[in-house]
Amino acid sequence: MALKIVKGSIDRMFDKNLQDLVRGIRNHKEDEAKYISTCIDEIKQELKQDNIAVKANAVCKLTYLQMLGYDVSWAAFNIVEVMSSSKFTYKRIGYLAASQCFHESTDVIMLTTNQIRKDLSSPNQYDTGVALTGLSCFVTPDLARDLANDIMTLMSHTKPYIRKKAVLIMYKVFLKYPESLRPAFPRLKEKLEDPDPGVQSAAVNVICELARRNPKNYLSLAPLFFKLMTSSTNNWVLIKIIKLFGALTPLEPRLGKKLIEPLTNLIHSTSAMSLLYECVNTVYIDVNTPPLPSLSLSLCLYLSLPPQLCVQKLRILIEDSDQNLKYLGLLAMSKILKTHPKSVQSHKDLILQCLDDKDESIRLRALDLLYGMVSKKNLMEIVKKLMLHVDKAEGTTYRDELLTKIIDICSQSNYQYITNFEWYISILVELTRLEGTRHGHLIASQMLDVAIRVKAIRGFAVAQMATLLDNAHLLTGNMQRMGICEVLYAAAWICGEFSEHLENPMQTLEAMLRPKVATLPGHIQAVYVQNAAKLFATVLKSQEGNTDSTAAQETSQLMIDRLPLFVQSANLEVQERASCILQLVKYIQKLQQKDVEVAEEVSALFAGELNPVAPKAQKKVPVPEGLDLDSWINEPPSESESEDEQPKAIFAKEEPKHSRPRREEVDEKELAKRREARKQEQANNPFYIKASPSSQKVYQEAPGVEHIPVVQIDLSVPLKVPGLPMSDQYVKLEEERRQKERAEKKKKEKKKRKEKRSGRGKKHDSGPESEEDITPAHQVDIVTEEMPENALPSDDDDKDPNDPHKALDIDLDKPLADSEKLPVRSHRAAEAPKSPTEDGDATSQEPKKKSSKEKREKKKDKDRDRKKSSKHKKKKQKKEKEEKEKKKKKKHHHHHHHSDGGGEEAVQNGTVEEEEPLPVSVFFCFLPLTKVYDIQGNLQDGSQVVVSVIFENKCDSFLKSMEFNVLDSLNSKLQRPEGSGPHDGLTVPFQLPPGVSNEARFVFTVQSIIMPQKLKGTLTFIVKNEDSSTHEKLDFKLHFTCTSYLITTPCYSDAFAKLLESGDLKCSSVRLEGVNMPFHHLLARICFHHHFSVVERIDSCASMYSRSIQGHHVCLLVKTVSIDAKCDEPTLLGNVLDEIKQTFSQC
């Protein structure tokens, strides 16, 4: 054996370490993947060995491979093994690997809880540090809940190194387990004044991070931060604090005034400001050299200046040659823009100049700023400039960004700044000539929006769209997949819907029925087909007016000739529409041949006006009382049908599913019918609150509030520009027009000065230079988007419901309730159902939701109880006599303990049988006497078992004189102090005030450990109220399982082999039925619940070992479906196997 160890360590020398692996990979450049796969095979072999050094080396290599993109999650269990090594070197490797590849759904994480807890309380601060660092990367809600209390303790550790890490990690804990925020907050606050600057900075960091999301809860900390700001010299801390104040001042305006003084002090006392000036004066030429934190501090300080002044300073930054400063100046500017747009607007020149910068980051920043600088006056000019950039821009990202910005700028606040919609349409049409943009759908939705909402523009828009359709081949060339062809969707729809404005509908109809159309994406073809029908109706109408009926028949023939192409389409939507329309046309043709006038009827199909509906309208429809939207009406339909609700899905990328525009096409009669039906229903529904008679109709008949003032104008603007429009022409025309107008106005002014201006109401949002002088080019009527009747005014739908910070919006100033205390160690709270009377106020502070997982566990526990079987569930067990439970709330906590040797604990379950609605609950845990873990240990002591009991007082009264007594059996006896009789109870050495829990330990002597057994016991105590005191009794049962007598003992494979060969052991086996969990998971469970350790594992077969406190060897050979076992004591083995089976039958 000794030889083997020596041999092993020599072998190890020639194992590949990380450096060898890296070198190997570099030497195999041609067949890297192959080389790595052989390396992974080697690693798999290494992981199977017992030697922890070999395993650690293997895990270290895996971490490297993970960086190269290899999934190493299969080794998660081995990583946990390495993490639990007692050597720091290996532990560190394990934690590093875990932090790189563990995440919330890694199942072995649940096995790490105890290991992490042990490391957190390690006497070596670096063990603790490494555990904290690792935990910060893979903390899960479960870990956070279980470890919150331990970490909180570490916040007061003697070493600042641990303190600062513990403080930082609390933020992660808060995110995962928001209930911990309130109990931990006082201590966190304390750390703001920690003597160590690192800890202080960590605390500031955490609080700033918290306050950024929910600033109002941290207003009360303002004085403290105030103090810190004046005392701290750490620039990092100062920056964070000033940023924090930036978030707080909007909530508390008085704060702003108070801040002025310390801020100006700071400006004078720190060198930051002067440094900045120096920097600006290009003393520092090298980009890398300015002392950055000071600089960014001064930037923060800038932002706290009054906006006017601030913007001026920022201008200096932006004009600087240092690109970083330029960028930051623009960034800061955009923050000010939100609050003080005017002061930024005066720097338009500078920002436009930045648009020409060579650096894309800076151009993007400048673009962002432009959004806030436009006015009616300069919109055309700015957009013209942007269009130039679009033409020059190399790289699609930036060009796409430009495109969206142009559209954003123009469409902002309901097209407020657009004076000439013809110009806007031509801009949109010009944008369609961009090659390879991703934003075809954006342009298309703008076209639709403008055409629908601005009635006056329809004629022009339709003409433009017809040209687009005519030249569709230009668009579809090679860009089909790039999305620009989406605009054809809009074009076709507009031409169809507003076909009465078409000059030459026949030509457009032909364009829409070209064979080339069949190459377009399905949803666009569908729109083509549908709108071809609309056009057809229009054409018929115009042709029937004529005396010559052949023209009309020719049109029908055209339809009949071309439509079959679409009938053959692979796309269902297209096919369906095409065949419907084809049949319809055929029928029409028949009628035509009989000289029947059909045009009227055909166009009636598409009669009626469509109203624009606000994108959020659907969401805003109030839910009628009594309607449960979550209940199924019928069986759940297949998934594919639920796509309608997505608000953005105007144009589904490829699927022909696009609900909104299509829905609008439902013909008017049908709509009217539905509307009527709904009204009827509403009228009959007593719960329906009727709307005041405003609402939708108003929009259609009377001008809406936001209508741009209507001005009578001269006809200097041609309504149509021949050929493809050039937006530039409009700019020129617009200028001429404005000049003319101005001249005219002057004339008028001379004539009637007094009357001037009284007529036109002042506009609020006029630009810097008398904006109201600019009038819209022609009558514009922007139809407001419709909202449903009684829409809820709430505008909170922008918030992301999944934002983890929402849960952290917690009032921190309220005093802490007892119920909010963090779970201590692993006494995990498993609450019994609360009575309705208590639900109200007293417990409202209780953390509202337990994780669903816990609930499930709770339920499982109960189920198990009913079976009256012994049970093992992780580290906790629980029993309740439900029938006797009355209104009183009880908590049954479960507890377990480590033996000092660091071995696995023996866990046992307790039973509480309640006779009365008693105000106390008892929790049990057993552990064998310590030191048995030591292999040399005196197994003679193995006849003793320690039971740890936690008493928790859940009532409002004081409990005292508790006595704990157990009815001894032949086999097990409660150890009583000398001199006491065999039936005397033991006094519990403490009293319990309301809501307090405490732990007592009792030692039992057990003769034989081969059988599980139950002991009956009672607890007597006095309940003391203000006026009375009563004696109470609580009966319970203690259940000792055989597993609880087992101690995790490591065993080497050679020793194990010897043991098996010795022939002393009796054999037995058990089948695991219906267990379908991953094998490593199964092993983990056995290790965990039954205190075994893995000796060797080969694929899906593993040998495991454990030892009883009296020295029985228990060996298992675990396969996926069965366990073969050997033990020198068959009865014990039988019982242990039964318990294992039980464990798996419950999962």
């Binding site: 360590s9 020599i10 020398m13 020639f14 370490n17 990380l18 450096q19 060898d20 070198r23 570099r26 993970q66 960086m67 190269l68 290899y70 999934d71 720091f88 070197t89 560190r92 590093l96 790189q100 995440h103 919330e104 670096y126 540090g129 910060s136 990367c137 903390v139 190194y161 600062k164 890490k165 930082l168 933020y171 992660k172 690192g198 960590a202 960091n205 955490v206 991070e209 950024r212 620039n235 990092w236 920056i239 940023k243 890398n288 050299t289 002392p291 950055l292 934190p293 000071s294 600089l295 960014s296 690109q323 970083n324 330029k326 960028y327 930051l328 650096d359 894309e360 980051s361 993007l364």
Partner: protein
């Protein structure tokens, strides 16, 4: 908060990746590629800030990077971090590397990824800045390295010897290549 720290060379080969938010491995590689693509096409005289790529980030996040000789150090951070502060942090990190590896070069990072991680762990923890004081960082790193050495003790000695022998015969061990270009030049920086 820092969302991710990426170090890759001029060809986009990752030298260290550290995500503080979970991404699957293939996604991580995609992010590295995208980030490299964004960063590598930028001149050296433009600013060190970049609006985040589409994969990592979104509007609240930005990439802050520095380019040293053959390596890019990229931090992906949200708006709660000060831009210049992070630039400085990168500098602190690189200077610490320089101290710990004595004249750091890309090969040090290639062969000692684990050590680089351990150093980084003392600077940033779980996406939050832990320590900015270089002396404090190097002290803690040194103590831990000493612990590791003492734990290795006698049993590790033969392995070390073998490793030294292995290195001796190979042409591309880190120390043998000392082309000035590969070394990360750490510009001296006035302390703050």
């Amino acid at each position: 908060m820092i969302k991710a720290i990426l170090i890759f060379n001029n060809h986009g080969k990752p030298r260290l990746i550290r995500f503080y938010q979970y991404f699957a491995e293939d996604m991580q590689q995609q992010i590295i590629r995208e980030t490299f693509h964004l960063v590598s096409k930028r001149d050296d005289n433009v600013c060190n800030f970049l609006e985040g790529g589409s994969l990592i980030g979104g509007s609240d996040y930005k990439l802050i990077y520095r380019h040293y000789a053959t390596l890019y150090f990229v931090f992906c951070v949200d708006s709660s971090e000060s831009e210049l502060g992070i630039l400085d942090l990168i500098q602190v990190f690189v200077e610490t590397l320089d101290k710990c590896f004595e004249n750091v070069c890309e090969l040090d990072l290639i062969f000692h990824m684990d050590k680089v991680h351990y150093i980084l762990q003392e600077v940033v923890m779980g996406g939050m800045v832990l320590e900015t004081n270089m002396n404090e960082i190097t002290t803690q790193v040194d103590v831990q390295n000493r612990m590791e050495k003492s734990e290795g003790g006698l049993s590790a000695a033969p392995a070390r010897a073998v490793s030294a022998v292995k290195n001796m015969n190979l042409p591309e061990i880190p120390r043998n290549i000392n082309i000035g270009d590969i070394n990360i030049k750490v510009p001296s920086l006035s302390p703050f």
